[in-house]
């Protein structure tokens, strides 16, 4: 029989047994026993952030770049509420996390005790699952179960709220065997006859397209290989959501680039005109579909997803396949080969696509000394691609330009807040990615407004000697807000100017970072080279054209074919219906 451990020791032991190497956290009264247990051991590394929101984003960056579960430890009350944005972000983007929160002792729960908040109540609908552990004897089992729930099925954040007395009392702990759950049993294997039907539909299609998403990345690296193989045998074009970038090599001739609101013209036109859409691990998000009743009107649709509630949620499909997208693609390939299928004659389809491609919708022309943001990102890509960098972003125009102009050739290299669109995500995510990948080049492509939302994390990178780079696309505006104001609200730039900006170089220097300013097209390469040459953390203030807009763009509520390709096609004032859309 095992000896009794305190709840806090059980936490550390269970995390160790689960192979956890790093946790991101911030201490406080209600988690002091756990911090004490961490102090006494040398197996788990603790990264002290500067704000709990950043702890969660760092754990997300860690998880997304490594495929492991990210772990967070924060105190009760404000520690927990500060973590809520990150937890919601992880839920929307299906990132596996376990978030441990301290809670006031059980006998004080419900009394408005100091730093008490209803953490399970607050996080109930922004987590995949949550627990309030009221008995030390249950703690070990709950932690193991939480990891299982976080990473299986559609991944997501799981919160474990642990009252302080539960951390102090003792109980026996034993590493459990195989983890199952009596009610939670995600269906992983796709239905074979549906898969056979899908194969027949793909083989018979004249204008097929694969519409792929972050589910392929979540399924693991093998799924990426399977997608590429599926593309090869079928000869069909592939487009990807923001979340799925990297699964198809950027330069692959069958890859049409990202689709959706700021996606490529060819991707959106192909989605509109296809006769068969095969959605693999994506969820028909409104940023992808545009106006629903005009979405791909003449296609049959197949949807493969691990989450049953994603099937037929916003778009009715002809064939829904519930299961892990990697496994389903593997079975598709088996059936394809067993039935001796050959790629169909897609010549006409590819020639249509070539016509759309010729519009060069991501094209831009860098003239003169004023830097275009697109050009800055393109050069950053070209000068770093040999190092296979991990890129995170904040939220705004720079994020969309990064998606358009930074090419990704592998999964787990692109970390961006897609579902929630959380400004302040990128720096802590880059820190988490750097912790998971010590030798990698990790760059946060930022906006000057977003970076200020978690700017305090400069200190975290300094403390742990993490050589992350921040590349600020500084247009002195909350550019994406300003763009919408220009397009929909008569160019009334209400509160979207980034007033009183700090001197980013001095700010970086105050934290021990190197600071670099780039303020001309001719100084761009030199600035990037200086950033890369420095082996510590670097903040680059790259000053770009103030009023550039991100195109192409499908205005909210418009259909794929109503894409705006250039600035001169915009209206300036939207009607009320359009204004009401997000």
């Amino acid at each position: 029989m095992s000896a009794e451990l305190t709840g806090a020791e059980i936490v550390v032991q269970a995390l160790t047994d689960l192979g956890v190497e790093v946790i991101f956290g911030y201490p406080g009264g209600a988690v002091l026993p756990i911090y004490d247990a961490l102090f006494a051991q040398g197996r788990i590394r603790h990264i002290l952030v500067r704000h709990e929101q950043a702890a969660v984003h760092a754990a997300e960056g860690y998880a997304r770049s490594s495929g492991k579960v990210g772990v967070v430890l924060v105190t009760s009350g404000p520690g927990a509420t500060n973590a809520v944005t990150g937890i919601t972000d992880a839920l929307m983007d299906s990132i596996p996390l376990v978030v441990l929160t301290g809670q006031v002792p059980t006998h004080l729960i419900g009394t408005d005790a100091f730093q008490e908040c209803d953490t399970v109540g607050i996080t109930r609908h922004c987590s995949k699952h949550n627990y309030l552990v009221q008995d030390t004897a249950r703690l070990g089992g709950v932690i193991h179960e939480a990891f299982y729930i976080a990473r299986s099925g559609r991944p997501g954040p799981v919160v474990i709220d642990i009252p302080k007395d539960v951390q102090i009392l003792k109980a026996r702990y034993e590493k459990p065997g195989v983890i199952g759950h009596k009610t939670y049993k995600p269906q992983v294997k796709g239905n074979l006859s549906s898969i056979e039907a899908a194969v027949e539909m793909i083989a018979a299609a004249e204008r097929p397209i694969f519409y792929t998403g972050g589910g392929i990345i979540n399924s693991g690296p093998v799924a990426t290989q399977l997608l590429r193989e599926l593309a090869r045998v079928t000869g069909a074009p592939v487009t990807s959501t923001l979340m799925g970038l990297g699964t198809m090599p950027n330069e692959h001739p069958q890859f049409l680039g990202m689709l959706g609101m700021h996606g490529s013209y060819e991707a959106n036109m192909a989605m509109n005109r296809c006769d068969l859409m095969v959605c693999l691990g994506a969820r028909f998000d409104d940023r992808v579909t545009g106006r629903l009743d005009a979405f791909s009107p003449n296609s049959k649709k197949i949807h493969v997803d691990i989450d049953r509630s994603s099937l037929n949620k916003t778009v009715r499909v002809d064939l829904g396949i519930l299961g892990d997208v990697g496994g389903v693609m593997e079975d598709m390939l088996k059936v394809w080969k067993a039935r001796g299928k050959k790629a169909g004659d897609l010549e006409q389809w590819w020639s249509d696509i070539a016509g759309w491609r010729a519009r060069d919708s991501f094209g831009f022309e860098q003239k003169g000394e004023t830097l275009l943001p697109q050009h800055a990102i393109k050069r950053l890509y070209e000068m770093t691609k040999a190092q296979k960098p991990i890129i995170s972003t904040e939220v705004g125009q720079h994020q969309m330009w990064a998606a358009q102009h930074f090419g990704f050739d592998a999964p787990n290299k692109w970390l961006t807040s897609g579902g929630l669109g959380t400004m302040g995500y990128g720096l802590p995510a880059a820190i988490g990615a750097q912790v998971a990948n010590p030798g990698a080049l990790c760059i946060d492509i930022a906006g000057e407004a977003s970076i200020q939302m978690n700017i305090q994390e400069l200190g975290t990178a300094s403390q742990y000697n993490l050589p992350v780079k921040i590349f600020i696309i500084n247009n002195q505006y909350m550019g994406m807000v300003r763009q919408w104001q220009e397009l929909n609200h008569g160019s009334r730039y209400s509160h979207s100017y980034s007033e009183s900006l700090p001197d980013f170089v001095k700010l970086g220097e105050a934290y021990g970072w190197k600071g670099i300013v780039i303020d001309s097209a001719s100084g761009l390469d030199e600035g990037i080279a200086a950033m890369l040459a420095h082996d510590g953390p670097v903040i680059v203030d790259c000053r770009v054209s103030k009023l550039a807009n991100c195109f192409p763009m499908i205005p909210s509520g418009a259909s794929h074919v109503d894409m705006i390709l250039h600035a001169d096609e915009t209206r300036g004032e939207a009607d009320e219906d359009a204004k009401a859309l997000v």
């Binding site: 109540g121 309030l132 559609r154 009610t183 509630s309 099937l311 916003t314």
Partner: protein, 169 residues
């Protein structure tokens, strides 16, 4: 999709009897804008392990499908059954109906109660409390009639339902 005609569906949700599970279910309905016409919940196992939640909801068929899929993904949910779609089932609810009045009104209340097989469970010289049970429509009808003979207040349980036949679902 939301413009299709609404349908009434009775869902039976078997859940692990753990803290917060009802809040998860109810919160899902409010967070996603689904309707709850009635809701009942009680422990139905010998060992307090499982509760049955019966929800009557309404919405167009795709919305009902979403509700079921969303409920199904809540971790402590064992099963979600759409009794309306599954076929023959029995639905009952109970109401306690208080009526006050004198003389002829009182006689009439008793007569109606008799027809509806409603039992007086509390009596004063000026009032009755009737216990009535049956399908929702019968309870509705009873209350509507009582309104005309001195209805004071009503308490209803909401619908409980179960599939017909020998098998457990």
């Amino acid at each position: 999709m939301k413009h299709l005609p609404s349908e009434r569906h009775t869902l039976s949700i078997l859940v692990d009897n753990e803290a917060g599970v009802l809040a998860r279910i109810v919160g899902l309905f409010s967070a996603r804008g689904y309707n709850i016409d009635s809701l009942t919940v009680a422990d139905v196992s010998g060992d307090h392990a499982v509760s049955r939640i019966t929800v009557v909801t309404n919405g167009p068929p795709p919305v009902i499908e979403q509700i079921i899929a969303q409920l199904d993904r809540i971790v402590p949910v064992h099963r979600v059954l759409d009794l309306t779609a599954l076929g023959p089932h029995v639905e009952r609810e109970m109401a306690l109906v208080k009526v006050a009045g004198k003389g002829a009104q009182r006689d009439e209340a008793l007569r109606i109660a008799d027809i509806f097989r409603a039992r007086p469970v509390d009596t004063t010289t000026g009032s009755f409390v009737f216990e009535v049970s049956g399908p929702t429509s019968k309870v509705d009808q009873f209350i509507a009639l009582m309104r005309e003979v001195g209805l004071v207040e009503v308490a209803r349980t909401g619908v409980v339902a179960i599939a017909r036949g020998a098998e457990a679902v």
